[in-house]
Subunit: 355 residues, 5 copies
């Protein structure tokens, strides 16, 4: 889960604007999905080629180009040339180790952030970088490409013509994409909350060395999660306060809404972080407590049996002149003495609250 | 106590503005309580229906609509249409996992915060979300709906015509609602202080493994409390600095007062948090101290009896040629030697301050 | 020392501006002390009544009304009406659980802060709330009322006509009151420094379980102290930057001076806090070190005597065919072997630096 | 790795602007490399002398003077005089214990930062100070001088005439130098991430005292790394927001890009720092856990064998009247009793989850 | 090292502006050293009296009055009257427990800070307060007075007429004084770095209880050092941003230089602080590790010898019917059994990595 910056070093010596895909290939082929719509109707093209994208640039209608898989550098260069994207933006899109941010490039606005999901197999958080570029009449969204598609419900809404999507501009579509992604953070946080709750029960009822590992792993994921979520506030706030005329005043109200969500997410993460810290402290304390318990058992056993064994040792000596050995009541008396000694010890420990 | 974001994920895919009640149903039915008043008189309707609410919109008099229970989505939609509430505001009202905040919507101001209470049974803090919307001639307050009703004294004051409530506008009523809720935080903090004090005494006089759990639980609740109280400062400060003409200058003085309260609450929470941290440190230290004590007892016992038992073991050997065994004073001499050894040990421990 | 917010909850349901004395009664009766002065002369009235206060309002001379004991709510209401104090200010004066702050109310300025003292008996810090209200020709100071009177030297200076007090306005008197109170914080901090130094010596020379309690208590008081001192900076800074014409430019220079003091106090408190944290760490470490010492003694004893006892046990067995038992040199040989074994062990521990 | 401020004290008494080389000599001779270019062509001089630098000052073409090794103070003074550098700037260049910063000196801009690298032998981070001065038609870069040369690819690009370097001004060259250096931080961070990952595996699978040293060393390097990286944000931000006309608007876009990188680096360092802290906590906990394990073994052994040995001791006593000793089944019975006792103990420990 | 605020309380009740020397007398007599100079020449008076100071006030030449020892209150009052110093400034000069700060008093600027040095005997940091007052044609510097004199090199430079000192105004001399003092902080930090490095080696190679005390002492001094260094940033920044015409624009460049130094110092202190914290953690961990080691030795010894002793105990019982005792191979068999048992134990511990 240590963030893989590895591939990034491959770029260290290169001039800025050279396009190299940094990250792991998640799909074998870049898929392009075009959705062109206005209030009247919808035109859709699945698995489109670059040439099919270009004509939409000059149309009056809104165009949403969704690309899954970033390895087709030629496709991106073509799109970039067509929509006038700056080389640095293309570079950022391809570099999947990007810090979430939003950039106002005058003719278009560029947003990049992390889409989080739970891998149902490994139960780990998986992260996918999503770039969103929107201008006067287009939205381009670029995903690394995984199985699940969070954007399908949005497409469905556009096809149905429900809601505001068809009536509002590309800024509203971009907002809807952001909203979809950020809403999904709550799903992740819920899973987190469940795991923390479970761990807490385990901690109280039956802490094991294993528990420590689990706390550690959660802490680790939390650091990762925080790194993805923390910049969201700034990202959305920058959009909301932007003076670009690409963002309608009506949309800003919606952006303020996801700004509140972003703060809520960060707050929750901080709370969970504190809980995990507190759990580690509790774990350490309960280990100490347990050790105390073990030590007490040892001390009680030793304190009771050492004197008794010593006593038995005395009467096991082979001196010729030990008068007690000849007494008829010697043996029973010693036994009684031993019992008394043990009883006294136990009474002492009871009083000291060790038993 | 891990905040339940659970239901929230049910909304993850939905378009913004779709009204879904997020949270647990706390009452079986939404109750509407209307209080319409001006300086001359008061008109009151308990358990009113939506249709009874609407006529008050255009009256000159002040109208306070108090709703308990949020599950009647139709009622809210009706109210929203009547008073021109933005769909996002209605969504926030229904989503009871909201971060406290205030929004200036020009025609009305929206405030949402947490009302805290102690559950007398479980001794845990219970939290209820309260939304307050106020405009030129109305205040709408929306509670999730629990047994106790903190707002009844306010209603009584309106009915009696005492104080400023009848003379001042809806901003003053909204302030009074906020003041009532925030004042109740002090009640919670007092209960907290009592529990901390009790725990501290327990810590000093008789720390047990149980004490650790109690510190942990208090810390947990503190995190929750802080999450509710922290945003209050910003919320009130935003109202106080608002340039909206819905808030009279005279009322701002009162808002500054609850701003001071909000800071005071946050300060107190921070102090308690530090105390709890310090208590955990002390607990850990005292566990270590206790273990030290136990170890000393063990070491003293072992150090005294191991050499003695060894000595007894020597004279328990069956060598044929052990002259000491034949001496008439052999046995008493060995006993004296043993006592001397034990005495020397005890003297050594006394000097080392272990006894 | 957990701050007593208790009584505050009694106010939770009441409307704002209702006057209830929150806190413990510290004197049986409110004492009013009037000092009316100008450059020419001084008029003084001890134990004055409310009616005696009122005429001074319209005089040209400066009037300082000092009140000890806050339980006489009628007196305060009278004063408030006479000098036009806002109900919220009167409420704040009576609520002795107030966060230190300063409020500019146009016609007068309100300052509230904590006066700290050491209780010579319990060696604990005691805190008393002081409110200062000053306007164009008056200063009203309100104390909860304790034995010692920090303000007497000020009165003496006014009577003598020394220094600037008689020549400057009420802002300078208010500054002098603040200066007196804040200067006294240094006395408290010195006592603190002494206690920390003593504790540090104890920690180095002879740490005991008792030491832990002392660190804890100091930490506790430090939290309390910080809560009182922290808002002072903001309080004074607000006064210094105030644009009110109640504060002369010449006085602002003096306010800047106590602003520096306030920062100095906060700095010192932070330093002491860090020292206490560091001391707790050191204590924990030294407990661990001590336990290590104890464990080593135990281990050395056990490691030396267990093998020896085992050897003695072997020759204590009753087998018929044990040739060593018949050897004439068997016993001495075994003794020599035992000594050699013990010596080897001790050499080993010496080499391992355990002895 | 404690940063060596040592040599700096040699300067303590000297007047400002006196040029003394502070730091270790890393090459035996200062090497000067001149690259003069415009859109048409490139002129290059390796191992140039001071006199060869001067003529370029007044040429229209861009001049990049790269100096490796700072011990030739005369060379720097000459350059400084020629390009009008302020004595304080020359002093900062020579003092290799400089905090990264950028200064706008009107006629030129001065940037100083740390170039980091991994020493392949000692696996430690090595740091080299790089100063960059750029004006209207020149860039001077000054390195302490190590083996590897990060700037060679840039030179190659200039020679080839590829990309923007030949077309854009000295601000773009300066940006490219910064970009090269800051990009190299990612290489260092990757190495770090690898070492942390390895250490984490070691921590989970097989923690040793050695592991502790490794965590400590990484933490140490992290502190060093942070000290170098932290001021980068401010440095780049100051350049980006500079109103100097030495920086073209087009270049600012590129500066914003490395500003994002700088924030990303700082974020990553913070994440690693938290991971290291968390690892230390885990290490401590697992040491405690291990000790618990050891203690349990000891306690189990002692608890089983002490009572048995005591029993054997009883029947080893030499009393004349011990009827059990004569019973034919005495010995087997005692053996059975012993087995039963041991079994009971083991059952008890199983139930207590100690086995 | 707990900062001595003691004497300060002596001032608690006094009116502001009353001159009392707060601090310890470090020299027996106040020494006044006058250096009057302009570009043409220098006039110098050692051990001058007050009357000799006054004539310089109205001369055109620059005058530097350096005073060592603050106990001669009359001298200061005279100077204050002559140069028009505000009573609060004189008070601050005499109170040697001052927080570093700079105040712009229009006619002159007042700077107070701590000059640090290492006491070669006790190896502790000693601190001396230095006040600098400079106006249009004078600089007054006031030291508490110790042996070493950091300012002598400056005087020498003035006498020689080298550098800028004779040409520039009093602001440059004041800057030079500040620079001299702040440069000396680096000397202190170097000594610190050496001690930390040494301690770190000790920690890795051979940690002792003594090491803990050393870490504690260093931490203590660090807190003290930080308290002196932290306000330097603000102090210099205020000077640099001052709009007073007492500070020439040329000098501001130099002030920016020492501002960078001040930030560098604070950064270094923070780094050392973190290193010390980390060292304490490491110490605690290594103590735990060591205890683990000790426990393992104990457990191994006990686990090997307890069963063996028990076995020997069995055959030491005196039952009449113990057939093994009669077997000719009984004794050797038992010995073999014992060796096998011990071997098995050792093998088990080897496998568990305890040996």
């Amino acid at each position: 889960m240590v963030e893989k910056v590895k591939k990034r070093s491959a770029k260290a010596g290169l001039p800025p604007g050279v396009l190299v895909h940094v990250g792991t290939q998640k799909v074998t082929e870049s898929r392009v999905h075009i959705l062109d719509y206005d209030e009247q109707g919808v035109r859709e093209k699945k698995r489109a080629s670059l040439d099919e994208c270009l004509p939409f640039r000059d149309s009056e209608t809104m165009t949403w180009i969704d690309i899954e898989g970033l390895q087709d550098v030629g496709l991106l260069e073509g799109l970039g040339r067509c929509y006038g994207l700056h080389p640095l933006i293309l570079e950022d899109i391809l570099n999947t180790d990007q810090r979430p941010k939003s950039d106002d490039m005058e003719d278009y606005i560029y947003v990049v952030l992390k889409m989080l999901d739970f891998d149902p197999d490994s139960l780990e958080i998986v992260s996918e970088q999503v770039s969103i570029v929107f201008g006067r009449n287009f939205v381009i969204s670029l995903q690394e490409g995984r199985e699940g598609d969070l954007f399908e419900p949005l497409r469905q809404r556009i096809r149905n013509g429900q809601g505001r999507l068809r009536r509002f501009g590309p800024d509203y579509l971009a907002y809807s994409l952001l909203d979809t992604i950020i809403d999904h953070y709550f799903v992740i946080l819920e899973k987190f909350a469940e795991r923390i709750e479970k761990l807490e029960e385990e901690l109280v009822s039956n802490p094991r060395p294993d528990t420590l590992q689990k706390i550690h792993r959660l802490k680790h994921e939390m650091i990762f999660l925080r790194k993805s979520a923390w910049p969201l506030r700034e990202l959305v706030s920058k959009l909301e306060k932007s003076e670009s005329d690409l963002i309608q005043p009506a949309t800003k109200l919606f952006l303020r809404d996801i700004y509140d969500h972003a703060i809520h997410i960060v707050d929750s993460i901080e709370s969970y972080r504190e809980m995990l810290s507190s759990m580690l402290d509790i774990y350490l304390s309960s280990v100490s407590n347990r050790m105390n318990q073990v030590m007490k058992v040892l001390t009680i056993i030793a304190t009771i049996f050492m004197p008794l064994t010593f006593l038995a040792g005395i009467y096991g000596m082979n001196f010729k002149h030990m008068p007690e050995l000849g007494w008829p009541w010697g043996y029973p008396l010693v036994l009684v003495l031993m019992f008394a000694l043990a009883g006294a010890m136990i009474y002492y420990f009871k009083k000291k609250n060790w038993l």
